[in-house]
Amino acid sequence: MLKVSIYRYNPETDKAPYMQDYELDTQGKDLMVLDVLELLKAEDATLSFRRSCREGVCGSDGMNISGRNGLACTTPLSEAAPKNKLVLRPLPGMPVIRDLVVDMELFYEQYKKIEPYLQNDTPAPAIERLQSPQEREKLDGLYECILCACCSTACPSYWWNPDKFIGPAGLLQSYRFLADSRDLATDERLSNLDDPFSVFRCHSIQNCVNVCPKGLNPTRAIGHIRNMLLTRAV
């Protein structure tokens, strides 16, 4: 029997959040955490969580799984509950809308700040703006981010200043455009990051790298941004 303890909170009826215990017969299968949630929801329809693709592509089911942020759909029980005890909580530090569903407003606000789109005012060529294979390679390890927020919500600096510090997810995307040979807004982008909070609240403790379900490295991207800022400043 798998023991599951889930954070429950319905602001309309509950005074405070509480942990609810469930039991599930997994029939010895190494299910994904999301499968467990689906099976429990079939029994208890009030249990709320987000999910869409169920294969690690959409980024909607980021949550805190037995103490570590990850995607429920790609985290197997063998990893999350080796002793048959699974604990599920919402992403840390985020306002809870209900149960495992969090308010992502500030997270997207930070994403919006980095202007996540290609900026280039030069006349567009007839077919497309070309990149050499080497230039394209620079975007590897950056473009794959699915904005699941596992990294930012594992970052203490983001917990304290989610309104001012861009956070690892936003900064990884920021560097994705800074590193793009087709983007010409490098200088404006850097000017927007030059304050003491946006980038420099990162203290390189690498919690973000540790949890990213896509194996990306925001700390490295942040280091590149810092170097670009320093090069420009001195």
Binding site: K112, E115, W160, N192, L193, D195, F197, V199, R201
Partner: protein, 124 residues
């Protein structure tokens, strides 16, 4: 677009704060190594050697630079601690007053130590 454009803690920008933080750290390591080295390597280390060392102008200047480095380093570091933990998001409106109070106190201590340090260095 709402990008943070508030006071920077010390330098002109986050970038300069970061840079000053590293540069002052290097100065402090150099000073520490020098002092420790002097204590262990000086022949007949004692009051005499110590006061001769500090009688030289370059040593006074080096010490003053180290003192200023401590103050800049501490200010940038503590400012970021204060703006992490004493925030309006966490504590509401009273955070502004409390933060201002703590920052003023830290600034006063910084000035006091600088003046005091100069007096000691050039007073002996």
């Amino acid at each position: 677009m709402v990008v943070v454009r508030t006071v920077t803690s010390f330098g002109r920008s986050g970038t300069f704060d970061w840079l000053y933080q590293r540069v002052t750290a290097v100065v402090l390591i150099a000073y520490l190594l020098f002092i420790v080295g002097f204590i262990f390597l000086a022949k007949d280390f004692g009051y005499q050697a110590w006061s001769e060392l500090f009688a030289q102008r370059w040593m006074r200047v080096f010490s003053l630079v180290a003192l200023l480095s401590v103050i800049i380093h501490a200010w940038i570091g503590l400012w970021s601690v204060v703006t992490d933990y004493i925030t309006n998001r966490v504590m509401g409106g009273k955070a502004t007053a409390l933060r201002l109070f703590v920052e003023t106190a830290l600034a006063a201590i910084a000035v006091l130590y600088t003046v005091w340090g100069i007096e000691i260095l050039w007073g002996v």
